[in-house]
Amino acid sequence: MELSGAQALIESLKKEGVEYIFGYPGGKVLGIYDVLYHEKAIKHILTRHEQGAAHAADGYARVTGKVGVILATSGPGATNLTTGIANAYMDSTPIVAFTGQVSTDQIGRDSFQEADVTGITQPITKHNYLVKQAEDIPRVVKEAFHIASTGRPGPVVVDIAVDAMKKKINFKYPDKVSLPGYKPTTKGHPRQIKAAAKMIGLAKKPVIYAGGGVVLSGASKELKEFAEKLRIPVTTTMMGLGAFPEDNDLALHMLGMHGTAYANYAVQESDLLICVGARFDDRVTGHLPTFAPKAKHIHIDIDPAEIGKNVRIDVPIVGDAKQTLKDLLEKVKPEKDKHNAWLKQIEEWKKKYPLKYKDDHELRPQYIVELIDELTEGKAVICTEVGQNQMWAAQFYTYNEPRMWVSSGGLGTMGYGFPASIGAQFGAPDKMVFDIAGDGSIQMNIQELTTAVNHKLPIKIVVLNNNYLGMVRQWQELLFERRYASTDLHNNPDLVKVAEAFGAAAFRVTKKSEAKKVLQQAMKIKDRPVLVDCRIVEEENVFPFVPPGQAINEMLID
């Protein structure tokens, strides 16, 4: 089949089963847009900023498990993607971003809208390509999707010179990739699995510490089986929320800086930590030398470089979480009641130190999140922004299934949640999608209201509006003697009016007593986004809080 490079690109995307491209046009991708103009099988979603497109593709990928696809022009189009790419890199989201590049004879001459995209994105991608020849397009697309979605997933950037889009080639989509330097290990070594099983047999106070890798690997079922069979309590990282059902009696909920006290105590007291698909991030471990001081460590991860990076590991297992848990399940021998004393101790901590907040007549953010949990019966997709809103959303909603939690973990990107919720709603059209937002963060990509309105996406944006960059203010309060430098947002715009101007529905909640009714009303709107501006107690703090540099059991509880 004789096709232009641009046609070959779109044909290749069809072969990969792509349904949506999130993007923004410009001079160097006009050829591709011209092909999309006639295309029926792939829908292009025009965002209002390339960063929005990148986060939308990321949100789509997180709820569907498929590869999110982005298209942007050269120069500023590509550089506007970088935050979204870095965000996907830190959280291991599979996305492929296509960018236009100036023609090959113009490269390196500071041509109009030229940027060294492969150079800029090299440290924030799993891999990237500069395509100068049309003939390479099908192979590169095949490789890009393969690399993005296998092993430890991540972003791949494909920068295509504009002349390569024009040239005619004989199109044939390869059915195999040949990447001799890329062979992820998915099956854990039997000897290591045996060693892990033995160590688990000897443990008296084991804890499973599960991360986003469990979600990415689709290993939730195996994790639950494993934990229940052996009666081992499970704490998850923020990225792992939903990897293990939070209503299970073995659930310790989130650990780390804003984790539950009982999760942190359990980890610190444990004699065996079984880490599955997590990476001992500093937000989890606190002061590293004091983390889980009595525990031996088993670490299951598909990325060998994560094993031993931050913490010394006794039994490393390189492998896919799902496969490895399956194999491990066959080797372990559960002993009845072996952990009873340990579980009883944990039960006591749970009773003594539950997540709590002041349940008075004031409108408090935790109450709003609990209301959303109640009204959606824990079945919504919850996207978040970054800051206190994110932590309250993590703490007070019950995540019983994977891929319901969409939040920027590693990079902590304000402005992520709302565009991500757009991608999430495209990916999960039958689910109710929320963006639990802060008044600061929502203003970072507020322009995407247009995108959501145009596509009639019934996203519920619930702004936990404290008129502050709340999380930073909290640090200033607790660590900088209340010097609120540049965190006061009392000059915020009227968010209800802003939303209405974009064509969205909008409500304001100022009293606790009206919150439920307004949320119910908002949830009835099906044909456009709705923003609920909740004026919460302004100086509410997130607790527990492990101050930076402390051990995770040295937390402030209130």
Binding site: G119, K126, H127, I147, P180, G181, D303, A305, G308
Partner: protein, 159 residues
């Protein structure tokens, strides 16, 4: 501790950037780096001398393996190393000093590759210490220009 590692990579544009970028980004120290093609023109060999303990070396190796273009990494054991550095040293010479310089060149099995009225250019290919030595001995005559490569290395014996 110093380690000499051989990184076998696909000979593709940008691969040097990927490797050197990885070292600077992750805070690993490169002592020297030499790149060249191998018996297979599609494959390059980088010889990298790095500083670090076993844990650092393990991280470096694992991170390098994550690069899609990396095919194989060898940590070359000290005892079984054939290693060479190459230096070109242009040293000031006159009728009085020329003979002494020639002696040094002979002792170290170096070579004189260019002779000019007031200078000699010396080529030496040897282990790092030896190159250091020659350089030091020639310093007193006045070194006009000098260039050294990074270390290249192979392991002795069959593979």
């Amino acid at each position: 501790m110093k380690h000499t590692i051989s990184v076998i990579v696909e000979n593709k544009p940008g691969v040097l950037h990927r490797v050197s970028g990885l070292f600077s980004r992750r805070g690993f120290n490169i002592e020297s780096l030499a790149v060249g093609t191998t018996e297979n023109p599609n494959i390059s060999r980088m010889t990298i001398v790095v500083e670090g303990d076993e844990i650092v070396l393990e991280q470096i190796t694992k991170q390098l393996y994550k690069l899609i273009d990396t095919l194989k990494i060898f940590d070359l054991p000290e005892q079984k190393l054939i290693e060479r550095e190459l230096a070109l040293i242009k040293v000031h010479a006159n009728d009085k000093t020329r003979q002494e310089i020639t002696q040094i060149v002979d002792i170290f099995k170096a070579k004189i590759v260019d002779v000019a009225e007031d200078s000699l250019t010396i080529e030496i290919s040897a282990e790092k210490d030896k190159v250091d030595n020659v350089q030091k001995l020639l310093e007193k005559f006045g070194i006009q220009e000098l260039v050294r490569t990074g270390k290249i290395a192979l392991q002795r014996g069959g593979i």
